[in-house]
């Protein structure tokens, strides 16, 4: 496996987790994370910008610790890759929200925090003491981010939705797929991913608003359905303006509800994607046609009348369009994808390879930018490669802050540090099964 070559960031076994990040732009802020799949990544991103993120779990651990896949396929408290990916760099405490004493502790923590992220079904947050009204009483400056399938109120607020249901109801899924098999979902959950990043966007805007409004907090009500609706590209305007419903075009592209050209081609060793007939259609078309000609693959396109037609973007008949696509198809099949992309890009063509996770980890571009980080799991005695900085801020950098926490790993530390509880008090709460 290619893993070891990235182990540049060796950390000592005694490193205190999460790793400190005083240089982050959000250093000094504190986030309480009560979320499930809809909000854990949201909290992680804020942590990597410097915030102190505390994951609050029930005593037996959050149910998402049982989400697969698992390291070496072994189910266990330390092995959920889902948990690793979404909760890296946080602290973890346990607290039973079903007990009044637990809810009281939360109110005290909220008084010492800036942002709360919760994903309770609308109307049920009150049962856990996580509704905005209750939390605002504890801290008028608190920003409460609620991420739910359809938002807090409205006719669908109580409907149940997982990733695929929100993708469907958000209108995005109808744009994916093809005529034969119908709509398709992206296998890695995108409604969840979007909801998390939208939630963090809302949280940041509310945080900024607090700064200019004398410390006033507010409630950020995020809808997964709307987050997916924002990913409908221009299908919404196409309906508004042309009264046409766009739908999954398979290997083709649609523009304003009309199928324009094929964008996916098979290479000798995989697949590539292109824009504008591989660049053949457009002002730089001659460069691409010359390239095909060098390899004896331009067919009739090398003729002057074809060149003129293509470079001036004269509309093509369906037969002509099919001929161009067939020419590209025959050419691509003969060559490896990385070669095709590099050569086409050298001629100004917008081409990109279809990469699998392994190929992404091995991608030259990401290596050249020193993207990957190695995260040490001292509990397993191994280090693993995680995605690195999603943005490079020159003054206040992003930082990966170590592995995800074990259940309640920081309970004593957090209650002592934030609420000044001595060991005896923590022990008392433990025996009463509050924490």
């Amino acid at each position: 496996m290619a893993r070891n070559q990235y182990n540049t960031l060796q950390m000592s076994n005694e490193a205190r987790l999460p790793l400190p990040h005083p240089d982050g732009p959000l250093a000094g802020y504190r986030v309480l994370d009560f979320a499930d799949e809809k909000g854990q990544l949201c909290a992680r991103v804020l942590g990597e910008l410097g915030a102190d993120v505390i994951k609050v779990e029930p005593r037996g651990g959050h149910p998402t610790r049982e989400n697969g896949p698992f390291f070496r396929d072994e189910l266990g408290p330390l092995t959920s890759l889902y948990w690793w990916a979404m909760n890296a760099g946080k602290r973890s405490i346990t607290c039973e929200l079903r007990l009044e004493q637990g809810r009281e502790l939360v109110r005290k923590l909220v008084a010492a925090s800036d942002i709360v992220i919760e994903t309770c079904e609308p109307g049920t947050a009150r049962d856990f003491g996580l509704d905005y009204e209750t939390l605002r009483e504890a801290n008028p400056g608190i920003i409460v981010v609620s991420i739910t399938p359809f938002g807090q109120t409205g006719p669908y607020a109580k409907l149940k939705a997982t990733d695929i249901v929100a993708s469907a109801m958000g209108g995005h899924m109808h744009l994916n797929g093809d005529d034969e098999n119908g709509p398709v979902r992206t296998t890695v959950p995108q409604a969840y991913a979007q909801a998390n990043f939208h939630g963090a966007t809302g949280a940041m805007i509310a945080l900024y608003a607090r700064g200019v409004n004398n410390g006033m907090g507010q409630h950020v009500d995020v809808s997964m359905q709307e987050a997916m609706a924002n990913a409908m590209d221009h299908a919404q305007q196409t309906w508004d303006i042309r009264h046409k419903n766009s739908r999954g075009p398979g290997i083709y592209r649609e523009r304003a509800g009309e199928r324009i050209s094929r964008y996916l081609y098979e290479a000798a060793d995989g697949w590539i994607t292109t824009l504008a007939n591989g660049g053949i259609s457009g002002p730089r078309g001659n460069g691409i046609i010359d390239w095909l000609e060098q390899h004896g693959a331009a067919r009739d396109l090398a003729h002057d009348n074809w060149r003129l037609k293509l470079t001036t973007l004269e509309p093509l008949t369906p037969e002509e369009q099919a001929y161009v696509e067939e020419t590209l198809e025959l050419f691509c099949r003969q060559h490896p994808k990385d070669w095709l992309v590099a050569e086409a890009q050298a001629r100004g063509g917008g081409w990109a390879p279809v990469y699998s996770p392994r190929e992404i980890v091995e991608a030259e571009q990401l290596k050249a930018r020193d993207y990957w980080v190695s995260v040490h799991h001292e509990d397993l005695g191994e280090s693993f490669i995680y995605p690195g900085a999603p943005f490079k801020l020159s003054r206040t950098p992003w930082k990966q802050r170590g592995r995800a926490p074990h259940v309640g790993e920081h309970t004593t530390e957090v209650f002592d540090e934030l609420l000044g509880m001595g060991e005896a008090e923590v022990k008392r709460l433990r025996t009463r099964m509050v924490i």
Binding site: T201, M232, Q236, T238, S356, F384
Partner: protein, 428 residues
């Protein structure tokens, strides 16, 4: 009590970005109170202004619905950066701004003399974000492309489609709708730091590097387990059933059961047919192996339970033994399943979205009057801030619409100078 300030009230943004990602980031600032000025050129109009949908199918730089949606609440000026005065006009404009956003191929801003170093000369507080596809450095830095093909390089094609079919990817420029949020998070974090310390900075944002963070567990599956995740149609490794099933009205309905409880509820909704009580359907790990059969039964069921919209009389038909059987429209079938507590939802079209009662309740779509396009629908954000909500204050700007106001009022340009530059083509 004094009136609340909008989050970015009083902040001015020079938006040099184009197409999807950059304009969406600046739109978040504009819709939340910033004065965002888009800097464009008539000589080289931004690509999206040339792409439809156009009202009456009439192409025109001021007629693109695609462009309009990403540029609500913004002002528009035009500067020809190749004109001898272009660079100094742009620099002067930025000197009146707090933030610069751009998404050109690396090196473009420097070629016009408006790199971060040049723009931040003599000031410490400028925040600038560059958002090209692949970042400022590296062998692919100058590669051309848009979100349609970045989704391929960043894994979304590989992970979207049917397991025995090509990696079709999403039907949209997918990363254009994922990474702007990640960029906005970084930018506003930088702005909040500036608010507290007075210090600006430069953000090198690579759409590619951000997009990889949307891949869930796919990267760790490879780096920790040495296994490559593969597209699996509408299935999920942890749920059964999990898929889309067709209804008689042509729509599809998504149904997902992750927990045993959800499965029990689905069985009740189905009326407990014999097949779902078979021993091999008892536990989720068993059902995961029986998905073909489950999908066949569910497809039959959704088909049989639904009716075409033109057959309202089919809504209730006489059953074999005189029992009345109800036939549903797809949205009714969703409500029926939901009434049993089963996660289910219709795969909605753009038309459905415009009529969706929840989207209406939330006020997601805004209607804004545009001088040439008329009353058009714009997307608002997916979140509601209770105290300082987004407000889409105006439709997208015409190309160069605000030249006179911006150059005269903000830059303090004299009438004579403005006319002189205009005649000389500096605003082309």
């Amino acid at each position: 009590m004094t009136a609340l300030k909008k989050p970015f009230e009083g902040m001015r943004v020079a938006d040099f970005s184009w197409v999807g990602v950059g304009p969406t980031v600046a739109k978040y600032l504009a819709d939340h109170g910033a004065e965002v000025i888009r800097i464009e050129s008539n000589t080289y109009p931004e690509a999206l202004r040339r792409v439809g949908p156009f009202p009456n199918d009439t192409p025109g730089v001021d007629n693109s619905g695609y462009y309009a949606n990403f540029n609500s609440s913004k002002y528009g000026v035009s500067i020809n950066l190749k004109h001898p005065e272009g660079t100094s006009l742009a620099r002067e404009l930025v000197s009146h701004c707090d933030v610069v956003t751009e998404s050109y191929t690396p090196g473009t801003m420097a070629r016009f003399g408006i790199s971060y170093e040049e723009l931040s000369e003599g000031r410490d507080d400028l925040v600038m974000i560059s958002m090209p596809l692949y970042g400022q450095t590296g062998p692919w830095a100058e590669y051309a492309g848009f979100g349609h093909i970045l989704q391929a390089a960043s894994g979304y094609n590989h992970l979207t489609g049917w397991p025995d079919g090509p990696p079709i990817g999403t039907g949209v420029a997918y990363t254009d709708f994922l990474v702007p949020h990640i960029a906005t998070i970084a930018l506003v974090a930088g702005l909040d730091y500036r608010r507290r310390t007075g210090k600006g900075q430069y953000i090198d944002f690579s759409q590619y590097e951000a997009a990889v963070h949307g891949l869930g567990t796919a990267i760790l599956e490879w780096t920790a387990n040495g296994r490559e995740m593969m597209r699996m149609g509408n299935r999920d490794p942890e749920a059964a059933p999990h898929g889309c099933y067709q209804c008689k009205d042509g729509r599809w309905i998504a149904i997902a059961c992750f927990t045993e409880d959800e499965w029990t509820r689905l069985k009740a909704a189905l009326g407990r047919p014999d097949w779902c009580d078979l021993e091999r359907m008892r536990r989720k790990w068993q059902r995961l192996n029986e998905q073909k059969e489950i999908d066949r039964h569910l497809s039959n069921w959704t088909w049989e339970m639904t009716r075409k919209p033109e057959d309202p009389e089919e809504a209730e038909i006489e059953g074999v033994e005189g029992v009345r059987i109800r036939k549903y429209a797809s949205h009714e079938l969703m409500q029926y399943l939901q009434s049993y507590g089963v996660p289910a939802g219709v795969v909605q079209t753009a038309e459905d979205m415009h009529n969706d009662p929840q989207m209406k309740h939330r006020g997601h779509y805004w209607k804004l009057e545009h001088p040439t396009m008329g009353l058009r629908t714009y997307d608002g954000p997916s979140f509601r801030l209770s105290a300082t909500p987004a407000e889409l204050t105006k439709a997208a700007p015409l190309l160069g619409e605000d030249n006179e106001r911006v150059f005269k009022e903000i830059l303090g340009m004299s009438d004579e100078r403005f006319v002189e530059l205009l005649a000389d083509g500096a605003f082309e």
